[in-house]
Subunit: 386 residues, 2 copies
């Protein structure tokens, strides 16, 4: 984790640990003997996560201390249903209706879906914990969250924010997350403003225009988009359209309410648009999108890795460039026992660039990342299997 001197304090945080999931007391009332057998069973998961804080490092620090605990807790809540391919309709396994297994099958509910649901619930729980903690300690700020969980032969990647995870395999690159920004979530955000106009308090326009409008545009028909449009139309500019747009700017400059560059994440419960009473939190989502990779369906090679990194890396390097670096570095350093952590360092240094006078430059003389940069390189291959 490296602070590229953008802010006084590094706002990126990382966490990794083993998660032991205790199977809960199943059938407590029905079969005490069986309970004793069960209560000693543990399932093991492996967890890695990156948090990119904004408005201070506090939210990222709390998240890095709590999210794995929330995940453990939510997994334990469903542990009774997680060990079989098809979870039971009732956690107690009591069958209320004879065709319950059939209903579950018709809905295509598998153990994997319980893990996905647990991750979704864990992010929400963690967001509440952060809200309470920050309020109690009068701290502010928020963070993005990218979490990977290896559990029962599958890799789950849950993402809320603009960090990114990719699998670099021998023959291809598999994206394991997509970024949530005001730009990618424009329609969701505009729709909320359409449903609850009071959230904008008369200070913002929910419409998108190619640029911020000015007096000279009044009465003209200009390009615009509303919440329900993927295409564009022309609208006659009224005075209200001159207000600052709810979602504004393009690419890395895109901002929600002129304030935030991400649209999902944890924290920000107290965040208001500067000099107003407008809250940002209603427009944010703490729910991750979860992608699953099933190891049983792939032949994993020795140099196959999962790369997780905050936007500090991806702002200056694309998936293909990272994959190239990964493959050549690992091929050249086959015997080094620390080659995966060395590769992570190497990726961070590449994105950080070289100091030239007052600027940080990439090797190819493009500007380097001024953001904090964090990278995980996680080998996927199990040596025991060889």
């Amino acid at each position: 984790v490296i602070n590229a001197e953008k802010s006084e304090f590094n706002e990126d945080q990382a966490a990794c640990c083993r998660i032991s999931i205790r199977r809960r007391e199943l059938g407590l009332e029905e079969d005490e003997e069986w309970l004793i057998l069960c209560s000693t069973q543990f399932l093991t998961g492996y967890y890695w996560a990156l948090f990119d804080g904004h408005g201070g490092p506090e939210a990222a620090i709390i998240a890095s201390n709590y999210l794995h605990y929330c995940i453990k807790q939510k997994l334990e809540e469903v542990a009774g249903g997680i060990t079989e391919a098809c979870p039971p309709m009732h956690l107690s396994r009591r069958c209320v209706c004879n065709s319950d297994p059939q209903f579950v099958e018709e809905k295509h509910i598998h153990a994997e879906d319980l893990v996905v649901g647990a991750l979704e619930n864990a992010f929400q729980e963690c967001d509440e914990v952060i809200g309470q903690e920050m309020e109690a300690t009068k701290q502010t700020g928020g963070c993005t969250a990218l979490a990977a969980l290896y559990f029962q032969g599958k890799l789950y990647v849950a993402n809320a924010g603009d960090s990114r995870a990719i699998l670099v395999l021998k023959d291809n690159v598999v994206p394991m997350s997509c970024e949530f920004t005001p730009e990618t979530e424009r329609q969701r955000i505009q729709h909320l403003a359409f449903l609850f106009p009071k959230l904008l308090d008369g200070e913002f326009t929910r419409f998108e225009f190619p640029r911020r409008l000015k007096g000279d545009d009044l009465g003209q028909k200009v390009l615009y988009r509303d919440y329900f449009m993927e295409g564009w139309g022309y609208k006659t500019v009224e005075k209200a359209d001159l207000k600052y747009p709810l979602v504004h700017g393009h690419g890395k400059q895109a901002r929600l309410l002129g304030t935030l560059a991400v649209s999902r994440g944890l924290g920000d419960h107290q965040l208001k648009v500067i000099d107003t009473n407008i809250e940002v939190k209603p427009f944010l989502s703490c729910i991750p999108k979860v992608n699953v990779f099933d190891f049983a369906l792939h032949d994993i090679k020795e140099d196959d890795v999962l790369i997780m990194a905050t936007d500090g890396l991806w702002d200056v390097l694309c998936n293909t460039e990272v994959a190239q670096m990964v493959r050549s570095f690992l091929a050249e350093n086959r015997t080094d026992p620390h080659r995966f952590s060395e590769l992570a360092k190497c990726l961070v240094c590449r994105a950080r660039g070289q100091r030239r006078g007052h600027q940080w430059m990439l090797d190819d003389s493009h500007e380097a990342s001024y953001d904090d940069i964090s990278v995980f390189v996680i080998p996927l291959h199990n040596r025991d299997e060889d």
Copy 2:
């Protein structure tokens, strides 16, 4: 269009026509001479649409008479920007800001996006017209809408409902629409109920369960999903969970508020859940998803066709079966000048099946479609080009 005897009246409607788009009076104030040249220019589009009515054929009839008019109107409103690859920021072409073309380019706005926006706006406009018309004539009901527009070298397919369009090309099948049902739009519908609980008036639960719960499930932990979950979790059943679910049933049986099998379409402004005051319309969307196919990027062969059909066809035949029938029929009937309409008839008859006693059966002794069935077969190849 065939009524498979399910209802007394056929509820499917079809429409097709040529749409002439007049370029509006551009630069009226600035250059009168140029206006005279422009105002006689016409752009031509070709339009086909299918409407599957429910609760009576009225909405489908109005839609089949009006939607093309709404599309023509919305295209004319943006016609000044549609003829160039990059539309101008201002419809008047007056440049308020020197870098306006650059802003438009940065947002990747192309003429194609204006057509998509026009289709989105046209569906919304048509829905309003239907609402007014139905209220004035005290009629009820709604319909799905699937519209295809060939315009300026591209095929646009706009879909709101459960009809489907596919391209059957020589070497592959290209889906041009996806279905919107209470099942595919569960999260959007549940989220609305979360934001506005009053819409359910205490009669429905927004949670999804594998089956409707009953008294015996009370206090048990059962599988459930809330609006933010793609995965599943377990929740302790409370009394409120025994209410009828907002989205219930599976596949063709899935229903919104126990009432409707589709979640997008036109009309239904007056529709209420039977014996209650609960309105269905707030949960429906009239906005289509638009897919674009660019002919310039494909080598279109003589037998390549667009197939559009209502769910009556797709309930009993999958894309692959339809593609097989299309290819073999067209290959066997190469000289017949009416082979495309004959193929449409053949597809309808295949889905309608044969009468055996009280049942309609498919060739392979599976049950045939009991729904209305409508099919368009539209050749894509331009003979003039040969």
